[in-house]
């Protein structure tokens, strides 16, 4: 009896990790691309349980909603889409393993993945080998292009749904420069976050070009929780504002610790300052003034159906990251339509050449630029926070 119990336990322990990493109904590949004759398999790799799980789940939910809508309307090319998603726990090696499984076992035609640039970049090499197009929101330009070498794009990686980090930084830097008297900036960023570093490089270049001054640069690491030293130094530096593109969790801790130090100066941030940032603060009014950009204007009437459907489906309000996931799935679906098949190279070619004039949540006229593997001319919504109240201001292009 004990032996049977031990064997059952061993079997259960072996099976649980295998099944838990797959959040969807996995297709056992039929040998042909696309997983079978009646379905087209789209792979998903997102952080569902790691330290960026809030973002990962939002992107994944956005994709899921789009897939359900597309399937309800008859699918793509007369076939239903089968979305197979794996949890990468915000880990590069897990991401590569999931991609390999999607390419070799699930026979995915395309993969939609994370907004974490560092994680996305772990797929550059393997995607060239497996040749499954990967779409995501990695804002570091190095994720889709060899910016430090040949300048050429990587063949199978695509930035979709938002412009890259230097462009985002340029948009908000220009806005702050044009609309405020602020000149002295303190930069505070997570040096282990590829997006934050790329954003900061863009911000620094533009801010200095318009006559602004960088009085101090402070850094932190991904798992840091105490920023009091850096904030004390910023308080001493005479900076007029803090530019910080850090992720939401770090932002919340930083803003609360700044308030506890009596440091009440404006913030310039990235789209992690959108919901749910303010709702996580003890007292949102500690953010006296903040400026940031986001890839969509959530109050736009065009987005309201999506927001309602999302909340009904997942029981929580939609966020910008959900918009990113939703839009990316529609871009992939459009590429499959244009390609006329679920063939991976045909989809890649369509992503490069045929995504033009697409109506999405982030834009009514979305164009994917084949030369840069990034959106062409895509702008961003600019927001201000005043005493804890969020307000949409304008839409600016890079």
């Amino acid at each position: 009896m004990k032996k049977i119990l031990a064997m059952a336990l061993t079997l259960a322990l072996t099976l649980v990790p295998l099944t838990s990493c797959n959040n969807g109904s996995s297709s056992q590949g039929s040998g042909s691309t696309g997983g079978g004759s009646d379905v087209i398999v789209i792979g998903g790799i997102n952080d569902l349980t790691g330290n960026r799980s809030v973002t990962g789940n939002a992107i994944n939910n956005g994709v899921t909603l789009a897939v359900e809508e597309i399937n309800a309307k008859g699918g793509v090319l007369g076939k239903q889409i089968k979305y197979v998603v794996y949890d990468n726990k915000n880990d590069g090696q897990e991401t590569i393993s999931a991609y390999t499984r999607l390419a070799d076992v699930d026979k995915a035609s395309a993969v939609i993945t994370t907004d974490a640039s560092g994680i996305f970049m772990s797929l550059i090499e393997i995607s060239s080998e497996k040749k499954v197009p990967v779409c995501g929101m990695p804002s570091d330009p190095r994720a889709v292009m060899d910016t430090e070498g040949s300048g050429e794009t990587y063949p199978y990686t695509f930035l979709t749904g938002q412009c890259n980090a230097p462009q985002q930084a340029a948009i908000i830097a220009k806005y702050v420069s044009d609309t405020t008297d602020l000149t002295k900036a303190a930069l505070f960023y997570d040096q282990s976050n590829a997006y934050a570093v790329a954003y900061m490089n863009g911000f620094r270049d533009l801010w200095e070009s318009v006559g602004g001054e960088i009085v101090l640069e402070e850094t932190c690491n991904a798992n840091d929780q105490d920023f009091s030293t850096q904030l004390s130094r910023i308080r001493e530096s005479g900076a007029e504002f803090i530019c910080t593109p850090n992720p939401t969790a770090q932002l919340v801790i930083m803003v609360q610790q700044a308030a506890q130090l009596g440091l009440n100066i404006p913030y310039v941030g990235a789209q992690d300052m959108s919901d749910p940032f303010l709702s996580l603060l003890d007292d949102p009014s500690v953010v006296g003034k903040a400026y940031f950009q986001a890839s969509a204007y959530m109050e736009d009437p065009r987005l309201q159906t999506f927001c309602t459907d999302y909340e009904e489906r997942f029981g929580e309000p939609a966020t910008i990251k959900a918009v990113n996931g939703y839009d990316t799935m529609y871009i992939v679906a459009a590429a499959i339509e244009k390609a006329g098949s679920a063939d991976r190279d045909a989809i890649k070619s369509a992503l490069e050449n045929d995504i033009d004039g697409l109506e999405l949540l982030c834009s009514e006229n979305y164009v994917e630029d084949g030369a840069t593997h990034s959106p062409k001319g895509l702008g961003m919504a600019v927001y201000e926070i005043t005493n804890g109240v969020l307000e949409y201001k304008t839409y600016l292009e890079p």
Partner: protein
């Protein structure tokens, strides 16, 4: 000068976080002589339990803390029952205690991940003001003051229990020789359960205060490593050493961040800790309990 005084305050504040984590950790170490990594799991589950108490049942700060403390104690007892009681009775290898505690910690953290990973959570503001303004450029957070007070009070209460009560005598007897203690009439299972209950109560307080100071997320469990480092610096298994070790670690981190930057700070802090332990292996308090493992 004011700047360095502020850093000193920041360091003490951070150190008090580590102290309160180290306290429950070191209590188990002093009795069972193994590093109890399930302490972090109890900490994080209690923090989320408190969140539910506040948001779903709209409890105030004091009732929420009291209920969560009891919950943390019971959870820790349950962990002890599942993970350690049988090992203790069968006189299992010390390594098994370590492995069991590590697995329990991961299990508890993963329960939280599976339940709460789709969103961030934070406690509402419990106090009318979040910090005290000492001078125009010197401040200290209310949460930090509470943490420091609770760490100190916790240590005093624990010392009282350990050295002035019958339960404390039983716990200390158990830590020396459980077989002899049993022969002398000590109900070993009951004393073990009570020790874990007290440790769980401390984990619950640490979880709530960490959630208030930082943000509620499952990776709060990983702070137990800082608690362990603090208890080593203070003197392994030494109750008052937990306070000193936590404060030293907090001060080191804050000043290292200032002088060498955040990228080099972890390496420099641990290098300093290694050098410190080379010259003073018994830790700050001068006493340590030998680990089984």
């Amino acid at each position: 000068m004011t700047f360095y005084i502020q850093l000193l305050i920041n360091g003490i504040a951070l150190g008090s976080v580590y102290s309160i984590i180290a306290l429950g950790f070191t209590l188990i170490f002093s009795v069972l002589k193994f590093s109890n990594f399930s302490h972090g799991g109890v900490m994080v589950v209690s923090a989320y339990f408190a969140y539910i108490m506040v948001n779903r049942f709209e409890l105030g700060f004091i009732p929420m803390i009291l209920i969560t403390i009891v919950f943390g104690g019971l959870l820790s007892c349950l962990a002890q029952l599942i993970g350690f009681e049988r090992l203790r009775k069968t006189k299992g290898s010390s390594m098994l205690f370590f492995v069991s505690s590590s697995n329990l910690g991961t299990l508890l953290q993963n329960i939280i991940i599976l339940t709460f990973a789709s969103s961030y959570y934070s406690y509402p503001a419990f106090f009318p003001k979040s910090f005290f303004q000492l001078t125009s450029k010197l401040t200290i957070a209310v949460t930090d003051v509470i943490m420091l007070l609770l760490s100190t009070v916790g240590i005093l209460i624990l010392m009282f229990i350990l050295y002035k009560t019958r339960l404390g005598i039983s716990i200390r007897a158990l830590s020396m020789d459980s077989d002899t203690a049993q022969l002398m009439g000590v109900n070993v299972s009951m004393v073990m359960a009570l020790t874990f209950f007290i440790s769980g109560m401390l984990a619950a307080i640490a979880g709530i205060l960490c959630g208030m100071k930082f943000l509620l997320y499952p990776q709060l469990k990983d702070l137990v490593m800082k608690g362990m480092t603090a208890s080593i610096l203070g003197g392994l298994g030494n109750i008052s050493g937990a306070l000193y070790g936590g404060l030293l670690l907090g001060l080191m981190e804050v000043f290292m961040t200032n002088f060498v930057g955040s990228s080099l700070q972890p390496a420099c802090t641990f290098l300093f800790a290694i050098i410190f332990l080379i010259f003073r292996p018994q830790g700050i308090s001068g006493k340590f309990v030998k680990e089984k493992v």
